[in-house]
């Protein structure tokens, strides 16, 4: 773990800033705040933070524009925190380079979990050869997946899908992103593959495939691998 990471919050609502200040501060993060797009971009350029929490409804610019501008050079995680809950808006933000998206109203525990996951993913420069999550163990070098210490047979596609999800644990991956990574760019609209293979994968790794613990559905957006 890094030495208290710095988080820049760009949000024009002072109530939200205050809430995040207390929440993040008491969880060992350093916090800096900006209340508009201009200030936010300036601050992230002067002292690049470890993570940015960005609101989409800023007074001086559309948050999506800010996101695009930031992503021209800013490589650390950006988490969107917005009242905008339309699927199209969320997918657009993720396409524009946001690592994660949380809609207001939110639970602070949920935000903290997302922040932890984003920082963890960021610090994994060279991925571990063997990753263990609860009862699931993935050996990336040998391409072996174990559930409750028992080797389970996965097809090549299932394995690629699972490792993509695990490598991005805690983060929402859009349907299009997964389809492109696992099946290739020409499959970007073939969501039927994703539906079928997610269901198959759940049958193999979840103890109750109908109430998944690991592979969570983000309605109309994508999937998220969850570590509780």
């Amino acid at each position: 773990m890094m030495n208290s990471p710095t988080i820049l919050v760009i949000d024009d609502e002072s109530q939200i800033r205050k809430l995040l200040e207390i929440t993040l501060d008491s969880n060992g993060y350093k916090t800096v705040f900006a209340s508009n797009a201009k200030e936010g971009i300036l601050m992230s350029a002067n002292h690049p933070p470890d993570l940015i929490v960005l609101d989409l409804g800023l007074p001086d610019d559309d948050g999506q524009n800010v996101l695009v501008q930031l992503r021209e050079w800013f490589v650390n995680p950006i988490i969107i925190l917005s009242v905008k809950s339309a699927e199209s808006e969320i997918v657009k933000a993720l396409d524009n380079g946001a690592n994660d998206y949380l809609t207001k109203p939110f639970r602070t525990q949920e935000l903290l979990a997302r922040i932890r996951a984003a920082l963890r993913n960021q610090s994994m420069v060279t991925p571990e050869p063997i990753v263990t999550i609860d009862a699931i163990q993935i050996d990336f070098s040998a391409r072996i997946v174990k559930v409750n210490s028992e080797i389970i047979k996965l097809t090549a596609t299932e394995y690629t899908l699972l490792s993509l999800l695990v490598k991005n644990e805690g983060r929402v991956l859009t349907h299009q992103h997964i389809l492109k990574e696992v099946w290739g760019p020409s499959y970007i609209d073939q969501t039927q593959y994703l539906r079928v293979f997610i269901a198959q994968l759940r049958k193999k790794i979840e103890s109750d495939p109908n109430r998944p613990k690991y592979i969570l559905t983000e309605s109309g957006i994508g999937y998220r691998f969850n570590i509780s």
Binding site: P105, A156, T191, Q192, Y193, R195, I198, A199, R211, G220
Partner: protein, 372 residues
């Protein structure tokens, strides 16, 4: 009558007044030697008055002018000229014209007044609807806000006198209240999305089994005291539907069942599909996707059953709480996807069944499973 007027378009109205005045004039052309032209004048006045009932003012004015000309040209001697010989005839024609005009204007005014009265009544109805909304809404919004404010008050004022158990209880009440508040705000936002017509379904392949279980998971707190049965066939294909809208539909229906059935009641959720009679079955063709949510509660009063999907409608003797928005949102979202929703009581009066039916493109997935 109003519809009849709206039915006859402006252009056709002018044609109608020209044709009717011509026909009546021509008919009486053959009787002009036996009938006094005064009588014919009265008959034409009757015609103009009749037209005034059905047509717009300009078409009626046209009929008045035309019939005055016809009187002069065909029935007042000398015939076939607009020349008038006696002062008596001139006065008569003038009076005829004036009466026809007054007729037209008066009828028009009466009709206007009628429309105004209708509009006023419609406005009253809307006002009544809004009052109902405001009553239930202020209850639904203010109750959780009161809970939150009250709890904060106690926590601020006497933090030391509170036992740990009590402050946990207060926090839990605050949480429940904010969830309830959030649910109502969500309903209101969805309603305004529907009202403004801002709903464009994004059709994509949906795994309805996944969707149903996701909703059940989201509602697990509300369903602790209910028994749940899910009946979904293993061979269920994928359906092309809007995931978000369909999720909200299923959510509202199950939420509704959880709120309005007694503790321990059984809620049964079924998904199935039937070939649409209008389409031949073939891979990727349209079928009817059917979602049913039934319970073994008390059912609905038969005389109110057709009103439950109306906006803001709440059952006469239902418990307090609720805005009457949930089911109307269901209806709106179902219709946005060209589907239908219906409600009926079970035949043996042991509960209610909500049925949602969408026409949806289906895809059997066996071909994909083997794709390696």
């Amino acid at each position: 009558m109003k519809t009849l007027i709206q039915h006859i378009r402006t252009k056709n109205q002018y044609v109608l007044s020209i044709v009717s005045v011509s026909i009546v004039s021509l008919l009486f052309l053959f009787t002009r030697e036996y009938l006094d032209y005064n009588v014919i004048g009265y008959l034409l006045l009757v015609l103009v008055s009749l037209l005034a009932i059905f047509l717009d003012i300009y078409a009626v004015l046209l009929a008045a002018v035309l019939s005055a000309l016809a009187m002069d040209f065909l029935f007042i001697k000398p015939y076939y000229t607009l020349h008038i010989e006696t002062a008596k005839d001139g006065l008569l024609l003038f009076l005829f014209f004036i009466i026809a005009m007054i007729n037209a204007v008066l009828t028009f005014k009466v009709r206007k007044a009628n429309q105004l009265a209708h509009a006023k009544e419609a406005k009253l109805q809307t006002m009544k609807l809004y009052n109902t909304l405001l009553d239930s809404l202020s209850h639904e919004l203010r109750t959780p806000i009161s809970t939150i404010m009250g709890a904060i008050g106690i926590l601020q004022e006497k933090p030391k006198q509170l036992s740990e158990e009590n402050s946990t209880k207060l926090l839990s009440e605050m949480e429940k209240a904010s969830l309830r508040l959030n649910h109502q705000v969500e309903n209101l936002l969805n309603m305004s999305r529907l009202e403004t017509g801002y709903i464009q379904p994004k059709m994509d392949w949906c795994d309805l089994k996944e969707l149903v279980y996701k909703v059940l998971n989201d509602l697990k707190e509300e369903l602790v005291n209910h028994r749940i049965i899910v009946k979904i066939p293993d061979y269920l294909p994928l359906f092309k539907l809007d995931y978000g809208l369909t999720e909200q539909i299923v959510y509202n229906l199950i939420y509704n069942a959880s709120q309005y059935t007694p503790q321990g009641a059984l809620i049964e959720i079924g998904v199935d599909y039937i070939p649409d009679v209008n389409f031949e079955y073939e891979e990727g063709k349209v079928m009817t996707c059917k979602i049913t949510i039934s319970d073994d509660g008390n059912g609905f009063p038969e005389d109110e059953i057709h009103k439950v999907f109306d906006k803001f409608y709440r059952l006469q003797h239902s418990k307090t709480g609720g805005t009457g928005l949930g089911l109307s949102i269901v209806k709106g979202f179902v219709e946005a996807q060209n589907g239908e929703v219906s409600l009926e009581n079970k035949e043996d009066e042991s509960g209610a069944i909500f049925t949602v039916a969408f026409p949806a493109v289906v895809m059997q997935t066996n071909s994909i499973h083997n794709d390696e």
